[in-house]
């Protein structure tokens, strides 16, 4: 996919970041374009979630600069966490809390209908199943009509059917014109759904391109396939 004619939503230049003084990555340059489905992949500890947080300006990088399109609305589904029992809140109340100040409750009702949350809208959030909770977080992320939907390993811990349903929903949103920026450890998902895959390894972007380009890249095969396959011939 040639992105030259697509506006840039997020631009990261010469990003460097360390964790407890150990360098996580250095000199990372990345653009996120409008309308694309971009997946960041990487082995455990490669810093893909940290890079996502830096791109979303949730944490400042140690070096480099991140800029985003003015007035960019971002919907975010963070890495999976379980809501705390101590905070009493229904699924519907979570959506109401997140809605823009000038919007009405109709927006919440619409989201509940669209994302089929009716069966658990009045349920306490800490009692929701993994699939229900993730669907709620996705609906919440869409409440301010974002241009970019960012997701951090959204299917972690979900069963296969819930994973499939979730990816289908994201693909549908992408078809409707939403840009997707996802961090995933699921290589099968990245290669089947994404338009562009960026692979992080050993402190930098080791390869990027369409899923086919990445899969055929010797560096990708060496870092991602051979690392788990002793008889691999790409060494």
């Amino acid at each position: 996919m040639n992105h030259d004619h697509y506006p840039v939503l997020i631009q990261a230049r010469q990003i460097g970041h360390s964790f407890s003084q150990a360098p996580l990555f250095i000199d990372v340059n990345l653009d996120v374009f409008a309308g694309e489905y971009l997946t960041l992949i990487g082995l455990n500890g490669s810093g893909k979630s940290t890079l996502l947080r830096i791109l979303l300006k949730l944490i400042p990088p140690n070096t480099g600069k991140v800029s985003s399109k003015e007035g960019l609305h971002i919907g975010y589904v963070p890495q999976r966490w379980h809501p705390d029992y101590q905070l009493p809140m229904t699924a519907e109340a979570l959506l109401t809390l997140s809605k823009p100040k000038n919007s009405t409750n109709t927006l919440v009702e619409q989201l509940i209908d669209t994302w089929q949350l009716n069966s658990f809208a009045k349920q306490q959030i800490h009692t929701l199943s993994g699939g229900q909770w993730q669907r709620l977080l996705l609906a919440r992320a869409l409440i301010n009509s974002p241009q970019l939907l960012a997701l951090d390993e959204p299917t972690q811990g979900l069963d296969l059917k819930s994973q499939h349903d979730f990816y289908q929903q994201i693909a549908q949103l992408h078809q409707q014109g939403m840009s997707i920026l996802m961090v995933s450890h699921d290589l099968a998902h990245a290669m089947s759904y994404s338009q562009r895959v960026v692979a992080l390894a050993e402190g930098s972007i080791c390869c990027q391109g369409t899923p086919l380009e990445v899969m055929n890249s010797p560096i990708y095969q060496q870092r991602f396939i051979c690392a788990h396959t002793p008889q691999c011939t790409h060494h």
């Binding site: 949730l58 966490w81 809501p83 705390d84 029992y85 905070l87 009493p88 229904t90 979570l94 809390l97």
Partner: protein, 263 residues
């Protein structure tokens, strides 16, 4: 009923208007020990107030604010475990407070009064002070409600929604410091920490919404205070321990009635 009982009930109601919502936030943020640590630091505030001969409530407020801000900063920088700092700050300030008080031979400090306060000795001036502080607390919570609740849920979601979570953490820490500094002299370190946490923990078992939990905690606090004062009056018991005991009984009863395992 004598006037001092009415004043105690009015003062208690005003304290619960602050302690119940802030206590609920402490539960939601898992900050129960912050209140305990700040209550310990008030002895140092007391000692410094006597040493420098400044109003006690001012020195209590200063020390509580310094410790609360330090806890927030350390939590944000993440270069020292927060619970380690809380434990060090609590016990060190308690020890330093005792040393300062001991080194001031002219200072006569009532340690029982520090621990248990004197709810039955409130003056109209105290009531006015508590009224202003509770109005201030409630207006701040109302102003920052959405951000504070979102931060309890997930700080990243709150940040991406445009809330300054560092500022919100600081506001919460300052509110805890304000309540503890104001209330320690009036109701004692033991009662104020119990009033912050126990009513919210009881109310949680019956609540479906954050507001419902706060309202429940206010009612529970006030009932416990009224029952505690009544027990104290009829059986000649110290007021604050009686109230804390009633709260504890309420917690056990709520646990038995709702049959839930979670704290």
């Amino acid at each position: 009923m004598p006037d001092f009982i009415w004043l105690a009930l009015a003062g208690a109601l005003l304290i619960t208007l602050m302690s119940a919502p802030v206590g609920a936030f402490m539960l939601w943020r898992r900050m129960a020990f912050v209140g305990d640590a700040l209550a310990h630091t008030t002895l140092l505030g007391l000692g410094i107030g006597l040493w420098l001969q400044i109003p006690i409530q001012l020195s209590l407020l200063l020390v509580s604010v310094i410790v609360a801000v330090s806890i927030t900063r350390i939590h944000q920088r993440n270069n020292l475990s927060t619970d380690t700092f809380i434990a060090i700050a609590a016990h060190s300030s308690l020890a330093l407070g005792m040393l300062v008080v001991t080194l001031l031979p002219e200072a006569r400090i009532d340690l029982m009064g520090y621990l248990f306060g004197d709810l039955l000795n409130l003056t109209m001036q105290d009531i006015w002070g508590l009224l202003i502080a509770s109005l201030l607390t409630l207006s701040i919570l109302y102003r920052y409600w959405q951000g504070l609740i979102l931060t309890c849920l997930n700080a990243e979601l709150a940040r991406l929604a445009g809330h300054d979570t560092q500022k919100l953490n600081l506001i919460l820490a300052l509110l805890i410091a304000l309540i503890i500094a104001l209330s320690t002299k009036l109701v004692g370190a033991l009662l104020i920490t119990a009033l912050l946490i126990t009513p919210a923990a009881i109310a949680r078992r019956w609540s479906q919404t954050p507001i419902g939990m706060i309202q429940g905690a206010i009612v529970i606090s006030w009932l416990a205070i009224a029952i505690g004062i009544s027990l104290s009056w009829h059986f000649d018991l110290p007021v604050s321990p009686a109230i804390v005991a009633v709260l504890f009984a309420g917690f056990i009863a709520s646990r038995a009635l709702t049959n839930q395992n979670k704290l």
